[in-house]
Symmetry: C2
Subunit: 318 residues, 2 copies
């Protein structure tokens, strides 16, 4: 089978690709080709050397690019490409173009392929907002307070309707905030959720822009990758009409994250965090839920992490 | 002030136009021009004779048409144009084009006008679906089970985000099913909700395609028009971040509708209803809520009808 990963040169995209190639199969079928579409080439040279990998540099909002890459052999599509929350708030039109128009183009091209490919789409805590219960449930209304959250919510609705009509076999996985991400800070409003751990561990200073009581809903990169694959492999009859799954996360306050850092790396690491509140980031991040009900995800066999100190330890050994 | 009504030649559009012209003002300002955009000319010759009225025949999905009609003097836009539920289910691409793309084009052109016009958008019970509580609340999740409901839900999200960003001053009014509509049956799945009253009153037979226990959430045309105007006139500070309002309706079973018809017009009228269940219509209509919490609408001063027999009596005197 042929697989397409959009955002394939991104952090999650490359990790997913490696994991798929190691596993050799998806949905019980041998992976023959793995197309990584992104605006840049993947940085991982080992990945590029695998004969099954095809790196494509192109604009995902260009339908002709998608038409060239999605064909009757493309049985699974992981649609990870996105403009992150902070950037989509700063540049409304760019967010609409990539998070909405490109997602719709991908659904249309998948529909035109006529063989009902599996499309795994990553959504976000940012679809929620406003007055929220302590634990968000599957029937809690979406009320996004950012353009990013709005665009993700719209793509979710489209994916559900395309699935209901039998155009695609879609699965929306709502990801908790991913932490600890390796690499550098990015334009996501949640960038600090990795930064306040990653930078101090490297001996560098890092700014925490939110109050220590702020509660986050976190998932490690490793668990996110496993969830993406498991989400793709779920039998469609188990999903029924409900194509959206809230993935299990860890409900951790920023103060608890800091204590986990202290447990793993000591006071010196903790002292490298600078507390400088940023109203703009606090407003976006504060609108997200700190926890949601995960009984459906668990019933579908999807799991998360045990505790945040273990997540930090795993990050250090990667 | 200048007002644009899309779907201005439709049943609600023409009634809204007449009511606005009678009132002479909107938001405390004198109405100087009323543009009715639709694919046909309004049928009401009296309306067309009013010097303030300008009938425009054009395609609402053509952005150039909107750019010509929306300018710095357009202070209020009533966006009523839509492909109805049954037709959007039968022709997916047409529904997407009008219910989604044209709505987005209208928001974009309104944004480009730069004076933050009020945009009143009519949404529907069809944004709800799946397992619903007996009374839908403001925080009940949307789970549309039709392409029409999906497209309306998406347009709602866009309108809220455009309002949050200050591009427009939007108001989404979720309308109950309108009954009793005059005229002929249409392609809406809910067409029978007017047909089983209207046709028997004319001495004609009418098919009821759903079970008598089916519960509908109804609003009379007159109350719908008053709600559209009141919704436009609400002070934006009273709306806060929440731009969507579930309008008050009457929760009535089909059997209760039939008894109301008997009360007003006798057994002969009731005997003109043919009960022929249609699985396709039952599935769509059955996914809609039979009642929703209206406390917010009432707090904002929006009202509905008293009882369904009075709605029928009002229809007969129009």
């Amino acid at each position: 089978m042929k697989i397409l990963i959009t955002g394939g040169a991104g952090f999650l995209g490359q990790r997913l690709a490696k994991r798929l190639l190691e596993g050799k199969e998806l949905n019980g079928k041998t992976i023959t080709e793995l197309v990584l579409l992104d605006v840049t080439r993947p940085s991982d040279e080992l990945l590029l050397r695998d004969k099954r990998v095809r790196a494509e540099v192109g604009d995902i909002s260009d339908r002709a690019v998608l038409e060239r890459l999605i064909d009757a052999e493309t049985e699974a599509i992981f649609h990870l490409a996105a403009i992150v929350s902070g950037q989509a708030e700063a540049d409304f039109d760019l967010g609409m173009k990539i998070n909405l128009d490109a997602s719709r183009a991908l659904l249309e091209v998948s529909r035109a392929a006529r063989h009902v490919p599996r499309v795994v789409f990553t959504s976000s805590v940012a679809v929620y907002g406003g007055a929220l219960p302590d634990v968000v449930k599957d029937d809690t209304a979406l009320n996004p307070q950012s353009s990013y959250g709005t665009q993700k919510a719209i793509a979710e609705l489209l994916l559900s309707d395309y699935s209901r009509r039998g155009f695609i076999d879609g699965r929306v996985l709502r990801l908790p905030t991913i932490s600890v991400r390796p690499g550098k800070p990015n334009a996501a409003a949640s960038s600090f959720a990795s930064g306040i751990i990653r930078e101090p561990l490297k001996g560098e200073r890092s700014i925490c822009p939110v109050d220590g009581e702020t509660r986050l809903w976190l998932l490690s990169p490793k668990s996110a990758i496993e969830a993406l694959i498991a989400g793709c492999e779920i039998d469609r009859t188990k999903l029924g009409d409900q194509r959206v799954i809230n993935l299990p996360g860890l409900s951790v306050s920023v103060n608890e994250m800091v204590e986990a850092l202290r447990e793993v790396a000591g006071d010196d690491a903790v002292n490298r965090i600078d507390w400088q509140r940023d109203e703009h980031i606090e407003k976006i991040v504060g609108s997200w839920p700190g926890m949601w009900d995960v009984s459906r995800a668990q019933a579908l066999g999807l799991t998360g992490d045990n505790n945040f100190p273990d997540v930090i330890r795993a990050y250090l050994t990667e």
